[in-house]
Symmetry: C2
Subunit: 294 residues, 2 copies
């Protein structure tokens, strides 16, 4: 049977929205404004790449759909929290995200701070309260905390902050991106693999896939920031150069960055060689990440 | 045998410091500045009331010391993260905390934001990685997330924000404090009770104890803000009145607040009637919370 990525993608995106919708508190719950702002932050569209990676990796084994949904909602909440805090005036000071006002613009700064805080908390609550084996949920919580904390995403942010206006070499830039963006993308794939109860050899291949994918994702981000317009991007374009931030493009040039993205895509695909057609969704996602326009 | 609270307190405080020290990343770990700032935030003294409550409640049964240490470190990290974010300019805008510059003053705003974020993450990581039964760790993670998220501490903060300059009645004020401060104090006691594997009747008594204690804690905070000087307090005194914040004191007067604190203390002690001398540390802590000078 041929794999139809378009219909898989449509179904997966809908499933991600439903998982989030089911996990978020209603805007009727006190404090209403905070819950409304949390929904605004988490439900503002976005590509749902992380939930899609959870679902795709989950197809490599006999995963419990409820565990995949919990993992998808949890990791997307972590991603959403990080965007809300990154957009704050003391960080990137962005007014626009996915074509809409950022949370601190639509609400206020203090609320945006709390929205990020509470979305992070909720991510762990979702996994703690999911239906499924205790050991599996704990492993997922541990992976998610490791990927998003001071040695992962938040740590990458800290390195990013220190790098503004400084000369970074490619090694440090890669390390920063591996932590800032890569760790959570890898985590998404691994959460799916954990739900699928893969053996450690297969988990290693998955991690190789997602490491290459994560780096490709960031390289493409840098390329888009330099080449796309704000409307296509749904956020302010050209910010990296304006902020004097080191990126793949500013450091290595546009041609190199575009070539590098292609190479990383090939590396990601090669890591999936041990899997059969059950990995077709992961393969298609690697293509999507590199060839996206926003 | 008579219970010697002073030596219990000294031992418990040292144990709390050790548990935190063992759980925090070294300032040698990349990114160093972030880890240094996380340590600054978590190790700035403080009364360690929450870890002490974990230890005290843990004495009601045959608790695994390692689980109590993990719970103590985790809940104090959540508390520390909340202080760092509360002190930020967009929230309370405080320069002084426990007699030292707040994190955004000693480092910078962006770093303080990440410190709070990463301390929260670390709290869940500590419980996920602790040695102990999976079900127990999951239950603790669920309790901690519930107490600190949008229906607990962060939600109380949101209500607090909305209340500045507004008339609040006593019911809403109590609800706000129950979420903002009470939920995490109750959680501390319950984490100890979970480690002690108490039955549900005893857990209910513990929850009654800690609900009264939590409210008493906040009433005393309001009294101290109105009566103590900044040096004794280790933070800016008189801020509530200056910020036009509704408090027990501004709403009900100093006499009422002081009487209320005593009544809540009596209520907390009455809830422990079903326990013998094994609850003496909890009893002494109820006294300490109400009679503290800072």
């Amino acid at each position: 049977m041929t794999f139809h990525f378009e219909s898989w993608l449509q179904q997966g995106s809908g499933r991600a929205e439903n998982a989030l919708e089911g996990a978020l508190d209603s805007a009727q719950v006190v404090p209403q404004r905070l819950h409304e702002a949390m929904r605004y932050a988490a439900q503002g569209g976005g590509k749902r790449i992380r939930p899609l990676l959870v679902f795709a990796a989950g197809e490599l084994g006999n995963s419990d759909p409820a565990m995949l949904n919990a993992a998808a909602a949890a990791i997307e909440m972590i991603h959403a929290y990080s965007l809300v805090h990154d957009d704050l005036p003391c960080m990137d000071d962005d007014d626009l995200r996915r074509g809409r006002p950022t949370v601190h613009k639509a609400f206020d700064e203090a609320t945006a701070l709390l929205v990020g805080d509470a979305l992070q908390t909720k991510a762990f609550a979702v996994l703690a309260e999911a239906q499924g084996p205790a050991e599996m949920r704990l492993q997922m919580i541990g992976e998610l905390a490791g990927a998003s904390g001071s040695r992962g995403m938040a740590g990458g942010q800290a390195i990013d902050l220190e790098s503004v206006g400084r000369k970074l070499d490619l090694t440090v830039l890669k390390q920063m991106h591996a932590m800032k963006t890569g760790a959570l993308l890898t985590c998404a794939v691994r959460l799916g693999g954990i739900a699928a109860q893969l053996d450690s050899a297969k988990m290693t291949h998955l991690t190789q896939y997602s490491t290459a994918l994560g780096l490709a994702f960031q390289v493409v981000d840098d390329v888009l920031d330099a080449t796309a317009d704000s409307q296509t991007l749904g956020k302010t374009a050209g910010k990296d150069a304006a902020d004097d931030k080191p990126t793949y493009v500013t450091l290595m040039g546009l041609d190199y960055a575009q070539k590098q993205a292609k190479e990383l895509q090939a590396e990601a695909l090669a890591s999936l060689a041990c899997f059969g057609p059950e990995a077709d969704a992961l393969r298609a996602l690697a293509k999507l990440v590199v060839e996206r326009k926003n």
